[in-house]
């Protein structure tokens, strides 16, 4: 069982390398992150973009261009489409956004005929956080993609965090469905949906996990709070995963933890045929590396 993010890198070093395809990798930020992962020997990489710009960038930053496969496509949207095509052709196991704008990148992924979405799949986002104040990793959703998930989307989110936690070696993860309270208050949709999903898990409609909710954050991740409140729940105080009721709750939680509690994280978009990395310029070097590593780990499961 992986309890720290850098352990993912160790695991990947000892397994078959997965292939990353970077869409429109025309910038040092993207190539640098990919280069870091390649140099550590955890992935192979294909850079789709303008070969002259890629070559120039590599020279400027002392990246060894011979470590990458280069596919020349100087147009932004076409580069994204080409990256998707490579995945669909089995020439890549995960995709990463380069200099292409997010909307064009997503457009290529979401294209009904040529994209990466299975029919009816829910596109969402999973973040894995390492917090020095918690005894293990926390797998969370959705802090970035779906603003206000409805019941069926929350069920999808629940399954996504379970799958990622299992990829991290947690055989039967404990999933907390987060709300403002562990009491069931029917006027709060978060409480209502959490109750329904809990029962669905009881009935085997959601598998391979212990699921409980509604749970407030304190009760979900703090044993003492769970004990004080006399929670009769295997999840309370020891959650591996958290499903948030809406994007604001999840977003505020992870940003607070990274900025005020020295948390590190890796993240990816899930729901497509392969993990999709959406790293932003503001991410730390570690976050970029961990996101690629996480995607590679999930792709290998």
């Amino acid at each position: 069982m992986i309890t720290r993010l850098d352990q993912i890198i160790d695991v990947l070093k000892n397994s078959e390398k997965k292939r990353l395809v970077a869409a429109y990798a025309n910038d040092s930020h993207t190539i640098g992150a990919v280069n870091d992962a390649v140099m550590r020997g955890i992935i192979d990489a294909t850079l789709v973009g303008d070969k002259d710009i890629i070559a120039k960038t590599c020279t400027e930053h002392n990246f060894d261009i011979s470590k990458f496969t280069i596919v020349h496509e100087p147009n932004e949207l076409k580069a994204a489409q080409k990256a998707v095509e490579l995945i669909n052709n089995g020439e890549g196991d995960m995709i990463m956004k380069g200099l292409v704008s997010t909307d064009k990148y997503m457009k290529a992924i979401l294209n009904k005929e040529k994209g990466l979405m299975p029919p009816k799949a829910v596109l969402s986002h999973v973040t894995v956080m390492e917090n020095p104040n918690y005894h293990k990793l926390l797998v969370m959703s959705d802090v970035a993609v779906i603003p206000q998930p409805d019941l069926s989307q929350k069920i999808a989110l629940t399954n996504y965090v379970i799958n990622v936690a299992r990829a991290l070696g947690i055989d039967k993860p404990k999933v907390a469905l987060i709300a403002a309270t562990e009491q069931v208050l029917p006027k709060m949709q978060a409480c209502v949906d959490a109750s329904i999903i809990s029962k669905m898990a009881d009935r085997g409609q959601i598998k391979n996990a212990y699921v409980d909710g509604p749970l407030a954050i304190d009760v979900a991740i703090d044993k003492e709070s769970a004990e004080i409140k006399k929670m009769d729940s295997i999840v309370a105080g020891d959650a591996d995963c958290m499903v948030f009721p809406n994007i604001e709750a999840g977003n505020v939680f992870y940003k607070t933890n990274t900025k005020l509690a020295n948390a590190e994280l890796g993240a990816m978009v899930v729901g497509a045929k392969c993990p999709a990395i959406l790293s932003s310029r503001g991410d730390s070097v570690r976050t970029k590396l961990y996101s690629i590593a996480l995607a590679a780990l999930v792709a290998s499961k």
Binding site: L151, V184, P186, K199, M200, G213
Partner: protein, 303 residues
């Protein structure tokens, strides 16, 4: 207290406990009602105030070979006035139970539900719980709602759970097993009832509903048949031994109990719930025995 497992045991229990309650019958000149009340008086656990047309009451009693002097008769020949008086007596603690006689159900309930002079506290949910005595089940089954709430919403369903639990406890079942009934044990958002069931279960997990073991959605097999639980492999604390069944709609519950009365030799006792004092409303088509059990049940439930 040893749990009461049949309606006859309930009657025995009342007889042995020496419990006696006073019932006001609204518009009492109905031979069915007179017969059932007379039997309860004979058993020794009821005193009756018959409100209605005195001459008619006496006549109907004599036609049934019942001595009308076993009743206190209050002469009020108008049905609404008689009902209002019965409800007033209950409000003033002059009687413990109110029972519908020959007055129409709508007029009777109007008096019971009257905001100023009725028997329903503000915001209380009125519902109906039946205790079913079934030859093929080894204990009583408390079911709701057979008669009042057509499509209970979440809040009403929670009230129904509490009423059924309260009744089961009066029968000596300390921690009743409550099954929330649906067509399948899997919550499915298409069926609002199954969604509400999941919410109620979690409320019980969190201690918001007390003194009972709740699970649902469950189908009737999983609720009442341990063999089905084993075959299906569903982990449920009810384990096929439900004391209470809460149905998603009146149609479902009504068909369930009527089917059992007709084809399975069942008997029942039932009561309106939510009122400050027990209120007995019986259907004319119920058996003599069931009518008598309704009265006995009201005596058991009366404070």
């Amino acid at each position: 207290m040893e749990p009461i497992r049949s309606l006859d045991q309930m009657v025995d229990h009342l007889r042995e406990s020496g419990r006696k309650k006073k019932i006001a019958v609204a518009y009492a000149q109905d031979p069915n009602t007179i017969g059932a009340i007379a039997k309860a008086i004979e058993e020794g656990f009821v005193e009756a105030v018959m409100i209605g047309d005195e001459e008619e009451i006496r006549k109907k009693a004599e036609e049934e070979h019942i001595n009308p002097d076993i009743f206190t008769i209050v002469h009020m020949p108008n049905d609404v006035a008689a009902t209002t008086e019965a409800v007033r007596m209950a409000r003033m603690d002059e009687v413990d139970v109110v029972m519908k006689g020959l007055v129409g159900t709508d007029k009777f309930l109007k008096a019971v539900l009257n905001k100023e002079h009725g028997l329903l506290p503000p915001k209380a949910v009125m519902s109906y719980v039946c205790a079913l005595d079934l030859p093929k089940y080894n204990k009583l089954l408390f079911v709701s709602d057979t008669a009042v709430l057509p499509y209970p919403d979440l809040n009403q369903k929670i009230a129904m759970v509490k009423y059924a639990v309260k009744m089961a406890q009066k029968f000596g079942i300390e921690k009743p097993k409550v099954a929330l009934i649906s067509a399948t044990e899997k919550p499915n958002p298409v069926f609002q009832g199954s969604v509400d069931d999941a919410i109620i279960c979690k409320m019980a997990d969190r201690g918001q509903i007390k003194d009972c073991i709740v699970d649902g959605p469950l189908d009737v097999f999983l609720a009442c048949d341990p063999a089905s639980v084993e075959i299906k492999g569903v982990a449920t604390p009810i384990n096929g031994e439900a004391d209470c069944l809460i149905f998603p709609s009146l149609e479902a519950c009504n068909s369930f109990y009527k089917g059992l009365m007709l084809f399975a030799g069942g008997e029942l006792g039932g009561l309106i719930q939510g009122t400050t004092k027990p209120v007995v409303v019986m259907s004319r088509s119920e058996s003599e025995k069931s009518k008598f059990y309704c009265i006995a049940l009201s005596v058991l439930m009366a404070d």
